[in-house]
Amino acid sequence: MSIENLERRTFDTLVIGAGGGGLRSALQLAEADAHVAVVSKVFPTRSHTVAAQGGMNASLANVLPDNWHWHMYDTIKGSDYLGDQDAIEYMCRAASHLVYELEHQGVPFSRMDSGKIYQRPFGGQSQNFGGEQAARTCAAADRTGHAILHTLYQQNIRAKTHFFDEYFAIDLIKDQDGFILGALVLEIETGEPLLIEAKTTLLATGGAGQLFRTNTNAHINTGDGLAMALRAGLPLQDMEFFQFHPTGIAGKGMLITEGARGEGGYLVNKDGERFMERYAPHAKDLASRDIVSRAIATEVREGRGCGPEGDHVMLKLDHLGRDVLYKRLPGICDMSKTFMHIDPAEEAIPIFPTAHYTMGGIPTNRFGQVVVPVDNGQESIPGLYAVGECACVSVHGANRLGGNSLLDIVVFGRAAGNDIKEYLKNNRYHRQIDEESVVTALAHLKRWDEPAGDGSETVSGLRAELQKVMEDNCSVFRTEDVLQEGLTKVLEIEQRMTNVHIHDHSKVFNTARIEAMELENLVDLAIATVKSALERKESRGAHSRIDYPDRDDVSWLKHSLYYKEGHRMDYKPVTLKPITVESFPPKPRVY
């Protein structure tokens, strides 16, 4: 495909990714009569938002007293003080409105006898700044993500948003002044590239859970947007912070919602001990995720794990009773039975921490604008936005609270949509793209049509190796030696990528080519993750260094920025100043 006969389309806004973040933005824009295109490598309702189970946090106070300020405090504490407090204030203030809006759009939330939305307790939630447990997570049984994603897609059908389903995004397109002006994408069905020119481009491509061998994520979660940003010369922020969800099904990785513990489930070791009482005397099983994951890993390491290999612990739910279980948690009951032949109403579920969520991502401000450091401040990249798991606002800091990711995507999806509307008002005309950046993107695609190196490597082989290295060398507990070895290994894999060639050169629905490009993305993100982890010499949130066991606010209360070129690190300060209220200064984090 040469640049001369490349098909081109023009829109006001290009949204890449059709999960909750992308769809919420698209809806905002379509309703404002902007000409918006949504590109997704899968049909929108296949996006991984669909798999979110437990719910979405908002201080509706339907069950227990609550307000947004308490939610803000919990989120900052949960983030181990690495979250930006202006963005967190914005999110927590907006939360209730956004939940009501979703309800008006049709989300079938579970209900209380009063007719109000049902809310369940989740980890890290408190009343009155660290007091009693709160109940802040708005739930549609344990299928909240499914309910929200389908509703947002349905609303986009109503708004007549223009979808490009099953198109894979390859690279961002720029001009010489650094404006981002769309992307080169590939129509999977035909194998033909398409250039989508747009005044604004929003990345909403989700996380990169496929970095790890055992994960809760879908096959598609390969962090494509993050890698596109890296290749465009932009940094990625806080990539060392990867969340391991405490309750993945042991050995398989499927997620058992935190809502299971919210409804009263608890963890036991091989002695039948409720061990979380030792690690978090107050919050117990509803401590925040990093703490529960470390506790489980510690139990197993110290020989108190269950099963013949002693490699997991058990999640006990049977005491809740069949009625409650099948009413509140029907999805996980079904999943346990399908995948493990276990009925949670009768038997405990074997679980172990599992790679779950990318806290790091493309640095943005609370308007969804992608920002980079300049001199003593930062400036936005004109025309480029990012929201959701691929972005780092940062509302999750070093550890995300359960129930805050569905919130994040709708709050910042909407905020970015609003900011894009303003941008479009001030930038009425399309700018001339730099054809060189199109040539580069086309060359990137073409690389996979040609034999490379000695062809000794395969995509599936290298991907499995990469995932194993990440699991062995960049997991719940980390040390200098293990991370250094991990970095050496991922850099080796990067080198070996030059020897991968694919054997399927057909055009029509060539998934081999797509998976090759996804692997390229994963390799870049693995390096970003391990390098950032190696450099951060402290323990904070999900980043737990055995050799640096304490949080170090003097040296490390700052965001990491990783650049692809030269694997360079930079740092920027955490925003400790909220928008209107007093700052929450860092203090010891006890649950």
């Binding site: 991984h48 798999a51 079938p108 109503r158 079904d334 995948f339 395969t458 694919i502």
Partner: protein
């Protein structure tokens, strides 16, 4: 374990064929999707859709030994050998196990699958009792995999006119919602000999649904509402 897998590459094959493949070391907890992934690692031209691997994204509907189902929820040890894997029937085949789903999505869009409210919107949530909310159970969980619609003989005969079980289930999902105010429009839209009344209660849809939903029952309920709406 022996497999027969439907193969078709439109760029090189005149017509589809069934390929015999064998997989060693099949363990008891493996699903069909796991097998397809191993086979793809050996032959990367093998093409199928899949994503979440836990039955919620609805990508990997295929026809397994003559019955539609999700590859990720179909346990190999429960399937008769050789395991025949074909694309879901009645849809244009793009490649191997991948079909063109546009007709299916078209019918979904046509039932206006979104909440329609005419009254002013409250500042907080619409009130809905647990009993009213329960009416949506067995409806909202649909994952749009297409197992039901592509197993429905009425849909095979009239794919352009009959909405099919998935779209009709979604139509009823909104008819059953206490918040929705477009009942008359929804019922009128489905009137006539084809859109809904091609359903002859064959029940294939309910038998194959990987989420245990029952579109036939939903269709019956729509018919009842239509009668009630007339009198």
């Amino acid at each position: 374990m022996r497999f027969k897998i439907h193969r078709y590459n439109p760029e090189t094959d005149d017509k589809p064929y069934m390929q015999d493949l064998v997989l060693e070391d099949v363990t008891d907890d493996m699903m069909l999707r796991d097998a397809l992934l191993i086979l793809k690692a050996k032959d990367e031209t093998l093409t199928f859709r899949h994503s979440c691997g836990e039955g919620v994204c609805g990508s990997d509907a295929v026809n397994i030994n003559g019955t539609n189902g999700l590859a990720c929820k179909s346990r190999l040890s429960e399937l008769k050998e050789p395991i025949e894997v074909r694309p879901v029937p009645g849809m244009p085949i793009i490649k191997d196990l991948v079909v063109d789903m546009e007709q299916f999505y078209h019918h979904y869009r046509e039932v206006k699958p979104y909440l329609t409210v005419k009254d002013p919107i409250p500042e907080v949530e619409f009130k809905q009792t647990p009993e009213q909310r329960e009416q949506l159970d067995g409806l909202y969980e649909c994952i749009l995999c297409g197992c039901c619609t592509t197993s429905c003989p009425s849909f095979w005969w009239n794919p352009d006119k009959f909405r099919g079980p998935a779209a009709l289930l979604q139509s009823y999902r909104f008819l059953a919602d206490s918040r929705d105010q477009a009942t008359t429009e929804r019922l009128q839209e489905l009137d006539g000999p084809y859109k809904m009344f091609r359903c002859h209660s064959i029940m294939n849809c309910a038998n194959v649904c990987p989420k245990g939903l029952n579109p036939t029952e939903a269709i019956h309920k729509i018919k009842k509402m239509m009668v009630k709406n007339l009198v």
